[in-house]
Amino acid sequence: MSAELISPLPIARTCPYAPPAEHRRLREEAPIARVKLPNGRTAWAVTKHEHIRTVLSDPRFSSNRRDPGFPSLSREPPPASDLKPLLLELDPPEHGQVRRGVLGEFTVQRTQALGPRIQQIVDEHIDAMLAGPRPVDLVQAFSLPVPSLVICELLGVPYADHEFFQKRSATLVNQQNTAEEIGRAVGELMMYLGKLVAAKAQDPTDDLLGRQIRKQRESGAVDYEDLVSMAFLLLIAGHETTANMISLSTLVLLQQPEKLAALQADPTKTLGAVEELLRYFTIAEHALGRVAREDVELGGVLIRAGEGVLLLANTGNRDPEVFGNADELDLERGARNHLAFGFGPHQCLGQNLARLELQIVIDTLFRRIPGLRPAVPVETLSFKDDATVYGIREFPVTW
């Protein structure tokens, strides 16, 4: 039966805008398929939208990345870690308790209150681009510093140290790096954040970390290890994700000028366009994994306890049973049931912040730099095919 088919993962893309053809073939022929991972182990690859949603909402699948069955796309075993589990590694009921401790920082209302400051940050970076030399690398001049500054201000991490943590967060998501290199980057970041949290314990500032310290003090003791883990996750998650979405969205809109023109003619369409760009790129394609805690039957396939499952959300977001003309970027599609932020209780905590940043960027960048265009042939751009989070390495632009 088709479920016995074994193909190696990951497979390189042939088109920078679409999941690898092999992943699409799996969705059509073996939507729950046994695949071989780079470390030689096998796992299940799940490629249909419906099945991905099911696995991500089923508590019989664990998020524990330290379980030996958890599917890894790295060639090497993960570095041994004595760190407290990150929020994204926890299972219920502990996961819900930790998530609820910080949820209030990311409500729709709290996020929208950051809008004017995000607009200011976007404008300042565009001012600097306009005043500087051409061509310029959009990634370094705009896509990376804007979300980086936003998450730093929200957390209370000094942006002056950005070179230090940007370099280390890029190391973490590059699967070509050795376990030793990744382990060192994690250690250095944790050390940095440990010192920062200790300083805030002396003088709790009015930012997420300071507020968490005050809140935990009011209800008893402060768990500094938990806070460092939380700061680590939010800092990393706030860097490589929105930054890549900004670069990719800019590129695709510059390449499809009729769609960009329609957006600019009616700014009320931007929020819907953001939703479609999220679906279309689904940059965290290699970030969603689970391990079965018990035997589970899914779509006629028996997944045994201890087996790993990879949720290929990018392929699921092109599922023709859910999205008509799924491979087309349709900025007026109006579909929100995509899996770009994952699904289930772990769904992205910062999703509304990401939506708002992308909305402000799209509304502002093309209006303020109307002649914006790639400064090199688009075929020569280098994409992050081997990273946990997809993106463009360098994007020279001019105007």
Binding site: R99, R100, V108, G344
Partner: protein, 65 residues
């Protein structure tokens, strides 16, 4: 249509607030607040969408003919 929410399942993603702000809101701690348990017909499509995309399946709908 009658809406039943399960606060224990809510994971505070806030998508219901974005889709149907006249029906759903969030408390300061991020958990859903139901503003209208029997919303008028013109909001039904938005409420159905909010229930469909809720990552925690915290929104249940009783549809009456």
């Amino acid at each position: 249509m009658r809406i039943i929410i399960d606060e224990n399942k809510c994971c505070g993603a806030g998508q219901c607030v974005l889709i149907a702000p006249r029906v759903f809101d969030q408390r300061d701690d991020g958990i859903v607040i139901l503003l209208d348990e029997a919303p008028p017909k013109e909001l039904h499509a938005a409420v159905r969408e909010a229930a469909c995309v809720c990552p925690g399946a915290a929104i249940a709908l009783e549809e009456r003919p």
